[in-house]
């Protein structure tokens, strides 16, 4: 009886142990781009690795390459549906009139600003001066200059990292689950983990107008929620990350007033 109780508890805990979390922030005045806009997607920063039995991450070049291509294809498909013109950089030197070094500088700047956004919006170090002000960060003049030189309206920065549980890791979880039968219940050794974030920068003002983080992880190895190395998983990620852009607070309030 006790064994069945444990098995039941385990079965119940399974759906809870693989979770996908999303949280987006937007500038109060932000309206998601629609119709005739030009979007520049900077080189997606993608890493896919394998989670070893012992819990280390082994980077995998082939999976990373597959994932990068699948993600690029998924962004193209998604943005075409919105009506925008999209350019996705695969390399830093692909932008006419802008040197690879300038592109790198903007990427690094976004990386630093993005870290600050994550720290102060997601990790709990909230800033009292930025309360109720939506997303209040900017890349400044560098981004505006990039917009002037290239004629793009927006720049999108995307980071995705995915760790796929190796066979050994899954076996470790199975062993832990088997232990439940003898009273040493430890199936949740930690499995696949994915962290994706993206930021949209308005190249007319230089401001970061929208930011989204998707975090997905399964406590039990073997449970999946969309692997980036598969086209389906990549499309799912792009949809989770970029598919549901919400307008900023001021815009939403205005829309609500109009409805009334």
């Amino acid at each position: 009886m006790r064994k069945w109780g444990l098995a039941l508890a385990l079965a119940l805990s399974v759906p809870l142990s693989a979770c996908v979390q999303m949280k987006q922030y937007a500038d109060v005045q932000f309206t998601p781009p629609q119709g005739d806009y030009k979007l520049l997607v900077l080189r997606p920063d993608v890493t896919v690795g394998s989670l070893t039995t012992g819990g280390m991450v082994e980077p995998r070049a082939d999976w990373t390459e597959q994932a990068r291509q699948s993600i690029i294809a998924a962004i193209h498909a998604q943005q075409a549906a919105r009506g925008g013109k999209v350019t996705i950089l695969a390399r830093r030197n692909e932008l006419p009139g802008v040197s690879a070094e300038e592109v790198a500088e903007v990427e690094r700047l976004f990386y630093a600003v993005g870290q600050s956004i994550v720290l102060h919006k997601y990790l709990g170090e909230y800033l009292p001066t930025k309360r109720r002000r939506g997303l209040d960060w900017t890349l400044g003049e560098d981004a505006v200059r990039l917009g002037q030189k290239t004629g793009y309206d927006y720049a999108l920065f995307l980071h995705a990292e995915d760790q796929v549980a190796s066979r050994g890791r899954v076996m470790l979880g199975v062993l832990g689950a088997a232990g439940c039968l003898v009273g040493f219940c430890y199936p949740n050794v930690g499995g696949a983990t994915q962290l994706d974030y993206a930021g949209l920068v308005d190249l007319k003002t230089g401001e970061v107008v929208w930011f989204n983080v998707v975090q997905a992880s399964s406590e039990i190895p073997g449970l999946k929620f969309g692997e980036l190395r598969t086209p389906k998983g990549a499309a799912q990620m792009v949809d989770r990350l970029l598919g549901r852009m919400k307008p900023g607070q001021a815009v939403r309030e205005a829309q609500a007033r109009e409805k009334r």
Binding site: T47, T52, G54, E101, G176, A178, G183, V189
Partner: protein, 407 residues
């Protein structure tokens, strides 16, 4: 419950933990690695084949792209060319595949990445007294690549963490099934794993030292210069600690590198082993000094501003073993002036006065010499020093003020 049980379990715990650590160990004792046993494991144009190594290389190529574009790099073509030629000489079979970057960071450090690119800190260039010393550090770093250390230690870590994860899980499940608690064994095995990882890392460093000393000897650098680098580091650490009323830290089980003391001892033995009697060795000091000459003032300036008077004094005195000059005397004065304890001002004044005698004294030596003279009421001499300062540096930020002082 029973006294005997306790005793038994204690002993078995120790035995079990020791066995676990031994099982995880790679059989590498902390003995000196003989230079003659070190053969390069990669040839020219090495490219990885195994999928774990291919993955790491891809990641490292991205890292190199970022490092190569960093604004901390010194991109002076003469200097970077000099470093490239140096690794091209002592890099063994992979000599032509290495890339080397010079970062403006005032620390004693150099590193090699798994794909064959290295980063050297300016703090290292400041500390080296001749080309042989720099070559020995570069050859050590090249040794890491030639002996495939990064992938080997990565695999070692993966294997040990796998064994530990499975072992802990089996201990838990098996223990629960058999009704015994094995948690203490698991913890001991964990400690054993961690210790063996550090030990493996130290063994790799010892290999790189042995490989490096062989490479520099083959290139005609005096092998004894390699232990001298460590002797200098030990001296610097000791004096730095003494000035701060601290004791120099000794090695521990948790070190990733062998302690400088054991390195020094091992390297001295290795150096005598690889020295061929009758062969001529050259430390190529003049060539080194002319290569780094233009950034030496900057590097000394960085060093004295680290607020580590013990290390700075040691360093300057070590460099001065090859002869004092105006630059070294000036920065000797700066160390005292910036420390600013009772008596330091007089020491600084002496150094500035000594500095201005040398033909290579920097303009700032005359400025500070002038200020010290002025404080001591020797205004006529001070004026002469200030005039000299203005002639050397007419556009100095404080030129207007100094001009007014000269009157």
């Amino acid at each position: 419950m029973c006294i005997r049980c306790l005793e038994l379990s204690r002993r078995s715990l120790l035995v079990g933990g020791g066995a676990a650590a031994a099982a995880l160990g790679t059989g590498v004792a902390e003995a000196r690695v003989r230079p003659n046993d070190m053969v390069p494991l990669v040839g020219p144009g090495y490219k990885p084949v195994d999928k774990d190594e291919v993955g790491i290389w891809q990641l490292m190529e991205r890292a190199e792209e970022e490092i190569a574009g960093s604004n901390l790099l010194i991109n002076d073509p003469e200097l970077t060319g000099y470093l490239r030629n140096l690794i091209g000489a002592v890099g063994g079979p992979a000599a032509r595949d290495f890339r080397i970057y010079l970062a403006h960071i005032p620390d004693f450090n150099a590193m090699m990445f798994p794909t064959g690119f290295g980063v050297i800190f300016t703090g290292l260039l400041l500390r080296m007294r001749n080309e042989a010393q720099l070559a020995s550090v570069i050859a050590h770093e090249a040794g890491h690549f030639l002996r495939r250390h990064q992938i080997r230690s990565w695999r070692d870590m993966r294997r040990k963490s796998d064994v530990l994860a499975i072992g802990s899980m089996l201990a838990g499940v098996g223990g629960a099934a058999g009704g015994v608690y094995l948690g203490d064994y698991v913890q001991l095995a964990q400690l054993g794993t961690i210790l063996s990882l550090f030990q493996y890392s130290r063994a790799m460093e010892a290999e790189a030292d042995a490989m490096g000393i062989k490479l520099i000897a083959e290139n005609g650098y005096p092998p004894m210069e390699m232990p001298t680098v460590w002797q200098q580091l030990i001296g610097e650490e000791r004096l730095s600690a003494r000035y701060r009323n601290k004791r120099r830290r000794r090695g521990s089980l948790f070190d990733s590198h062998p302690s400088p003391d054991s390195r020094l001892a091992d390297l001295r033995l290795s150096a005598s082993e690889v020295t061929v009697p009758g062969r001529g060795y050259d430390s190529r000091r003049a060539r080194y000094l002319s290569a780094i000459g233009k950034i030496r003032p900057m590097m000394l300036d960085d060093q004295v501003k680290l607020n580590d008077p013990g290390a700075s004094t040691y360093l300057i005195q070590t460099l001065a073993q090859d002869g004092w000059n105006g630059l070294l005397r000036f920065y000797e004065g700066e160390v005292w002036r910036l420390r600013n304890r009772p008596g330091d001002e007089a020491r600084a004044a002496q150094s500035y006065a000594a500095a201005v005698v040398y033909p290579d004294a920097p303009a700032d030596a005359f400025r500070w010499h002038g200020i010290q003279l002025l404080k001591n009421g020797r205004s006529a001499e001070a004026r002469a020093a200030f005039s000299r300062y203005l002639t050397m540096k007419p556009n100095a930020p404080d030129a207007a003020w100094v001009r007014q002082m000269v009157g």
